[in-house]
Symmetry: C2
Subunit: 259 residues, 2 copies
């Protein structure tokens, strides 16, 4: 089983990418809806939540873990990898690699939650690979609540996106990393406000590719994964919005279990 | 000691009202910032959090408890009162009573989080006291994140408020209950959008008055309260925004302790 967790519903975009790119594998998803959002919380608290979530998925039988949450990936990866001897995938590195491939001017924007941006993880990783890159980051704390409210096409959402992207637009970036798994649901508005020439990098496809490559070369682990095309969704709190969005993102009926 | 809790920073408006109306009493505040917000979570989860928070405050020496959170007040009051034999104050009843006194046309609007509005508590209590009242409610889930982001005067906030209040405006209400302790921080915008003739009811003053009256007539409990004018702030997660807002709301320096 492939285990995925997120603070809430955003990680479903990663789950969808996995279902598309490597269909057939059983997937278990945990959305920490009772404690969402992570992006406004302190590093210490985010680390504790990430360890607890990983523990839950391993006990349920997951053989690899995808942290489909940028905030947890930014802050807790080291601690989770240190504690567990399982293959752990985070969503930062795939986006960093894709963006460096895409950017001609090496002028890259990053948007994310306050916790992700304050961690400086994208800048650090981008500059590690290419010290010539110029990285401009902006925290966009209201985008997650707007997505959770379902205001995906409202004028207000356009205004908020425009306001947040303004400093990046003046920097004339040619590539923009969506540093939060909620943001792909606002991709059209973001593309519209940042301009057509800017290439938008969404880490969900990138992380699914990483998992695919890993399974090709690690047959011992691949053999342990069950392949009945089943998926199960666990949440720490059942809310009507989660069910609605899960159906829309995964394009099928879902059954939630509360833990 | 008077104990107060909220899901986050909103309850500080209630704390401020208590400090103004009955100065001198020691106050202990708990903001559940690690699990905020409550308004999007299920009733079961909100009840569990309210019981845990009450427990914490009682262990710290609180002799009366103010649930300065509309979501918890809406959903968890009965269960908290049932479990603890302490005087418990909630923020719904004072606003209900004030609004019925204020409304001439008995046409009353209520705004709150999704959980508060879905609970139907305001409508129920208003109609219990006056069955002739007409009550119009609207959930405004984005207002809490906007306040937490500090966008108190931004055009986007005006737009969101206008959008949420539109259905209430068409109903020609003459009184509007702010059914969330965050909303007093947006009072000017709300007044502006709903119109000058609408009387806005903010429960923080009302609940402070309830506590004041209670202490006058219950001297046995009043005698147990320490009166050194001290206050302490506990949070489940320390974030820079909390400290900033706490200073602004309480108009003094604050020191946070994490639990």
């Amino acid at each position: 089983m492939i285990g995925i967790f997120d603070s809430g519903i955003g990680g479903l975009t990663v789950m969808r990418a996995l279902m598309e790119q490597i269909p057939g594998y059983d997937i278990i998803y945990f959305g920490d809806t009772a404690r969402t959002p992570y992006g406004t919380k302190s590093p210490e608290t985010v680390i504790r939540y990430a360890l607890e979530n990983t523990d839950f998925l391993l006990k349920k039988g997951a053989k690899i873990i995808v942290m489909a949450c940028n905030t947890a990936s930014s802050i807790a990866t080291e601690r989770v990898v240190e504690k567990y001897k399982f293959p752990i995938f985070e969503v930062i590195t795939p986006a960093v690699e894709l963006s460096l491939k895409s950017s001609k001017k090496l002028s890259i924007g990053v948007i994310g939650t306050r916790a992700t941006i304050q961690s400086g993880i994208y800048e650090k990783k981008l500059l590690e690979i290419n010290p010539d890159a110029r990285v401009y980051s902006t925290a966009c704390p209201l985008l997650v609540p707007l997505v959770e409210e379902g205001w995906l096409k409202k004028p207000v959402t356009s205004m908020v996106v425009k306001k947040y992207l303004h400093p990046l637009k003046t920097r004339q970036i040619d590539t923009l990393i969506l540093g939060c798994t909620h943001y792909p649901l606002l991709k059209k508005i973001i593309q519209n406000k940042i301009g057509k020439r800017v290439n938008i990098i969404d880490s969900s496809a990138g992380v699914a590719e990483k998992v695919k490559d890993f399974l090709k070369t690690n047959k011992d682990i691949e053999n342990k994964l069950s392949k009945n095309g089943k998926f199960s969704l666990f949440v720490s709190d059942i809310t009507p919005q989660f069910e609605k969005t899960a159906k829309a993102v995964l394009k099928r009926n879902v059954k939630l279990e509360k833990v």
